[in-house]
């Protein structure tokens, strides 16, 4: 199982290797120059160099100082947690590191470009958690950029565009048993750096793949649990519905059923009595009337038991506010509620419908629209209509396919002789028109 710790220690090894490489290259300049002067080859050296060289000690100082700054910035970058959270800051510091690497590269008179590999490693390690970093395009771009950088920073290419001291000329002036050996060492360090870079890349890829696997396993586990929960919820809903259905049936059977049976029996009696005794018939009809009234009362009672409990004790406005507050408390949704219906006195059925539509709409906004803001406006555009507009900022719907909820809303509005319309553009909007008292159907 690849560990992140190993990756970090590999990176640290690479940092040290680069330090060594820079030390080596910078020392080469000093060593070769001193040798040339000591053996009085200065003039020939200058002739073959084609231009005025920089002071080798300046090269040494500049490269060591710039690399030290780079190393400090890098360790600061890795030990400071602030960079791990802030993408922008992280990228800024990578950019600063890149600039410093260019300084190191220039101060070594372009003889060593392995330092850019180090920056690249730093880039991938610090960006490993970025979402878009996994995009192939970004990867491709970074890799192409790196290749381009490595190609153009090659000495043999750059020396065509600017005057540069060629380290191989320095080495040529060293005795024949030392110069080639140093060149071999120089190349060996460069290759070692490259190998380390590839090793880190491979290790990183394995690490990343493993992480991905881990996440996938966990996701699978979570979705399984989710599925079971859904099943359970469906089951419990079904049980609740069934229980309600049985209760309603029982209520009807107990109240309306009794009354209707009584009425039917009473009417049978009157049919027999009507020709025999008019007065007895009248008495019987009064009895039937009482039974009918009792029946109506029972039906009302049964209906009352079905209505939302909230509506029992409050006005419509207060009940709505209470319900909306509950919604706001249990979810993150922000609800904007404006009520301009004043003290309109609706039928209980109408109040029910309004209550249920709002409930359904908010549930839909949360469940389907993933909205985090809903505005509900209850207005009275003219004397004959009460209007309610429910609007959310969710995903909306290009094409509205009526489901159970919407169908039920339509049915409910139809009961109170109102109108309802839906709009899925720019969030989801529901407009409900309710006719004012008088036209109402009882």
């Amino acid at each position: 199982m690849p560990k992140f710790k190993v990756l970090i220690s590999l990176r640290r090894t690479m940092l040290w290797l680069n330090f060594f490489a820079i030390l080596f290259n910078a020392t080469l300049f000093i060593y070769a120059t001193d040798y040339v002067i000591k053996t009085s080859q200065s003039y020939q050296f200058l002739e073959s160099l084609h231009h005025i060289p920089d002071s080798p000690r300046a090269i040494f100082g500049e490269s060591i100082i710039s690399f030290s700054i780079l190393a400090v910035v890098m360790s600061f970058h890795h030990h400071y947690s602030a960079f791990k959270q802030d993408t922008e800051l992280n990228n800024t510091i990578i950019f600063v590191e890149f600039i410093l690497a260019i300084f190191v590269f220039l101060s070594l008179r372009l003889t060593y470009n392995g330092i850019f590999l180090l920056i690249f490693v730093d880039f991938i390690i610090s960006n490993r958690n970025q979402y878009d970093f996994r995009d192939y395009l970004v990867w491709m771009m970074v890799v192409v950029f790196l290749l381009f950088l490595l190609v153009i920073t090659d000495y043999s290419i750059l020396s065509h565009f600017m005057t540069l001291p060629d380290l191989t000329i320095y080495l040529n002036f060293l005795p024949s048993n030392i110069g080639p050996k140093l060149l071999v060492w120089k190349n060996f360090i460069t290759i070692l750096n490259l190998t380390l870079f590839i090793l880190i890349l491979i290790y990183f890829a394995i690490y990343q793949l493993n992480q991905e696997n881990d996440i996938q396993n966990k996701l699978a586990l979570a979705s399984k649990a989710n599925y079971e929960l859904k099943n359970y919820a469906a089951l419990s809903e079904y049980i609740a519905k069934d229980r309600e259905r049985k209760r309603i049936a029982r209520d009807i059977h107990d109240s309306v059923g009794h009354a209707l049976t009584g009425i039917a029996a009473g009417i049978d009696a009157t049919l027999v009595l009507i020709d025999v005794d008019k007065d007895a018939t009248k008495k019987q009809l009064v009895k039937i009337q009482t039974a009918v009234k009792e029946g109506i009362k029972d039906v009302r009672k049964a209906l009352n038991r079905i209505r939302p409990g909230a509506l029992n004790n409050y006005t419509l406005q207060e009940s709505l506010k209470k319900m909306l507050k509950e919604y706001a408390d249990i979810s993150r949704i922000k609800i904007d509620f404006s009520y301009h219906w004043g003290s309109a006195d609706f039928e209980k059925t109408t109040e029910d419908v309004v209550f249920r539509i709002i409930e359904e709409a908010i549930t839909n906004s949360l469940r389907h629209g993933h909205a985090n803001q809903v505005s509900i406006a209850c207005t009275k555009p003219d004397q004959k209509t009460y209007q309610m507009v429910i609007k959310d900022n969710g995903t909306g719907a290009q094409k509205i396919v009526p489901g159970y909820g919407i169908t039920q809303m339509k049915e409910r509005v139809a009961i109170i002789n109102g109108k309802i319309s839906f709009d899925g553009q720019n969030g989801f909007t529901i407009v409900v028109d309710i006719p004012a008292e008088g036209d109402m159907y009882d």
Binding site: E47, I52, P53
Partner: protein, 432 residues
């Protein structure tokens, strides 16, 4: 937290930048207080010279009067032969002096490597016109169209003659505007005289290059430095040399022979001429004949006099450029300093204004024994006759190769047939 970090980073960078700027300014100020010069000890012209740093010390004293704050440093005791190596070492170590004396032969190589600063802007600022200097001496300091060095002293080659010998053969002293043909005629006449003792026309240091100058042949292509030996002028110049060699049938016509009075003509540098015709060196030569000098022979309208020029240049990595330029200006354009150069170093000043002055005549006549024949008017003419040498990096190398091959062909007596081969060989080795 994040904001705080940003502020800290910005502050640290700001402090670093500001302190860096202060340090930089301090360094610049410190550098302006000292001026380093690279010099060699002996004369540029290989003539005995008792007072090695006399002119420089004189110039430094003058400079101090105007710039008392600048301290001038130079390393003494460097021989001219070691100078090239010494300077290379300094350049490699990046310890190049601000102001460097540059002999003719080292100029091309150093200039091509970018060792010198371009002086055009300084000259323009201080309104130094090209006509201030003799044209050929100024051109000696140009490379790739840039003025990289100013001439400091010059040593034109004169044609010295044995007046006594010429009178013996009843030959009139040649005029100043004599052609190579006239020159050859006189040489031929002297060499083919039927006398007991063998006399010669000219010493062998009149070489093929002098002949090329005389005919105004451009043997090096200005653009690529390729050798071109087969032009009409070039061929005629080679013919002259071949004829002289064939006539005299020997290469051993040396200056010793001239001193013995057996040769009519000898090219000689002005510095050498002045040294050996004046006290005390004239005595050592023990000549028993009269000396006279004239211009090198040349075709009409051709500038045929080889002039060696010593220059001063500012190092491209100079720390005190301003000071270097001020001192250089003093050395190269100040009349008093230039007069001192002419007096002490035995060469010639590079300023026409100095050469034409009556003081210059006094300098020329100083300690001269018997021969009051070099007038400032003649010297001015000679200086104006200076040939311009090609400027490219491997000039010295190519010239050496060419010289070796041509000398060999001359000795073998087949120069004319070899010319094309030599040209081909040199150009090929150039491209490789």
């Amino acid at each position: 937290m994040k904001r705080k970090n940003k502020i800290i980073i910005i502050l640290v960078t700001l402090i670093l930048v500001i302190s860096g700027a202060f340090y930089w300014q301090y360094r610049v100020k410190e550098n302006e207080k000292t001026l380093t010069i690279g010099l060699y000890t002996s004369s540029s012209w290989n003539v005995p010279n008792g007072h090695q740093y006399k002119v420089i010390d004189y110039a430094i004293r003058k400079f101090k009067q105007e710039h008392p704050n600048i301290k001038i440093k130079y390393e003494s005791g460097i021989q001219q032969d070691d100078y090239r190596n010494w300077l290379s070492e300094k350049i490699i170590e990046n310890k190049t002096p601000d102001l460097i004396i540059v002999p003719n032969r080292d100029f091309n190589a150093l200039a091509s490597e970018g060792a010198f600063k371009n002086l055009s802007s300084f000259m323009w600022q201080d309104n130094i016109k090209n006509s201030t200097f003799y044209a050929s001496t100024l051109k000696a300091g140009q490379y790739g169209g840039q003025q990289l060095a100013l001439p400091y002293e010059a040593n034109p080659t004169l044609m010295v003659m044995n007046k006594t010998l010429l009178q013996k053969f009843k030959i009139k002293t040649p005029s100043y505007d004599w052609t190579p043909q006239q020159f050859y005629k006189l040489c031929h006449q002297v060499t083919y005289s039927n006398t007991k003792k063998k006399y010669y026309g000219v010493t062998m240091n009149y070489n093929w290059q002098d002949a090329q100058f005389a005919y105004g042949a451009q043997i090096f292509n200005k653009n690529d430095g390729n050798v071109e030996l087969t032009s009409d002028r070039s061929r005629r110049a080679f013919a002259l040399i071949e004829n002289i060699v064939n006539d005299q049938s020997t290469f051993n016509v040396t200056s010793q022979l001239f001193d013995k009075g057996r040769v009519a003509f000898m090219p000689l540098g002005l510095a050498q001429y002045r040294t050996y015709t004046s006290y005390p060196f004239h005595i050592t030569r023990n000549n028993k004949f009269l000396w006279k000098c004239t211009k090198m022979p040349g075709m009409e309208g051709i500038k045929a006099t080889p002039i060696e020029t010593t220059m001063f240049a500012i190092s491209s990595k100079a720390k005190n450029t301003k000071g270097a330029w001020e001192f250089m200006k003093l050395l190269c354009t100040n009349k008093k300093v230039q007069r001192e150069v002419m007096k002490t170093n035995m060469g010639c000043s590079v300023l026409p204004a100095v050469v034409k002055s009556t003081q210059a005549q006094k300098i020329l006549d100083e300690k001269v024994i018997n021969f009051h024949n070099l007038t400032i008017k003649k010297l001015d003419l000679i200086m104006k006759d200076g040939a311009v040498l090609p400027k490219f990096k491997d000039y010295n190398d190519n010239l050496e190769k060419l010289d070796y091959k041509i000398q060999n062909a001359l000795k073998a007596g087949n120069l004319e047939t070899q010319l094309f081969n030599i040209q081909l060989q040199v150009n090929q080795s150039e491209t490789n």
